[in-house]
Symmetry: C2
Amino acid sequence: MKIAVLGTGMVGRALAGRLSGLGHDVTIGTRDPHATMTRTEPDGMGNPPYSNWATTHPEVAVATFGEAAAGAELVVNATNGSGALPALAEATAEHLAGKVILDISNPLDFSHGFPPTLFVKDTDSLGEQIQRAFPQARVVKTLNTMNADLMVDPASLGAESSVFVSGDDAAAKATVTALLESFGHTDVIDLGDISTARGTEMLLPVWLRLMGALGTAGFNFKIVR
Amino acid sequence: MKIAVLGTGMVGRALAGRLSGLGHDVTIGTRDPHATMTRTEPDGMGNPPYSNWATTHPEVAVATFGEAAAGAELVVNATNGSGALPALAEATAEHLAGKVILDISNPLDFSHGFPPTLFVKDTDSLGEQIQRAFPQARVVKTLNTMNADLMVDPASLGAESSVFVSGDDAAAKATVTALLESFGHTDVIDLGDISTARGTEMLLPVWLRLMGALGTAGFNFKIVR
């Protein structure tokens, strides 16, 4: 499948690398490809520059948000929460129409320090905001409840854990579920329509506290039943 | 141990029955014991009247919130969220001073229908509100992330699941952890101070959506790591 991954951070890199390794034709979307490829400093989260990663993943193309989305059958939103709507606006509604948006972003607000608060919560979600802003796209919220490494290789935990999907379009959820299973997810739980993204986005506060208590991001939720 | 359980709903009954069965001296606290014992109609949640349950648990005493708290070494807050602070006020700060409050309540607001929203969230929690209102009590938030039956018998799921504790007082958390272990909890995760209750209270939205998607309340979170 031709897939655009919007976002050059750790989540975007993890998704792009894994999808490419599975044989998909992957283009990373970014605001300014020249700036992305020539930056030599770590980003604001301390990640090594994208160009380092790109040297080991020459098969992953880099393009603007709009170019990446235009050529894609499926679009992965791997931006940070505050960057999601602006990046998708640059991708353009025209290039998103009819396509699945696999949305991983979380509405985290770091402006008041750590732990971050949520800039959307409880009576709305970022997933719903994206669906409302791009009504012809088919948004599926998923993977936002775990660390980037586990998103694309959940088996590395050594025990089964769960991943959630939320979305209004059953066929889009089926497409996303097949991708998740190709990553190794064996317990995909369909929570219902896109409003159920409120629940998974509100998991982030306890996820962050668990990371602090356990001293690692290498954990995940399993729904035991 | 002499234990007061504040609240006569399904959570209060589950805790009181289990604690009593484990040999503790349990008193249920309620606003008006006479009304509680003489009511013959189901309550607002459709639960059978308390008097039915009381006939099979004659060893569990019934008293006012204040009387129950006065005689207790440990107080379980098993009220609903909106009833928590009023019930504890009736228990009185004097009778709560120095004692462990095992707080199970969730700040659910059903006034706009189902699913409920949260009347405290993200930058505060009901657990913190209780700790601030009763600074001499030692509040430990726990058990609020699962169904009442699983609170007191997690082994019934057939696979290990997790329970969280949040609180400022290490000795209080140790006391509560020992009680949780006596119920059969084998994975008790200390998240940190009482502000970490924000995380577990914000689990309720996804819990409610999971109940809808799975068609049962018989599930629990396990933190796989």
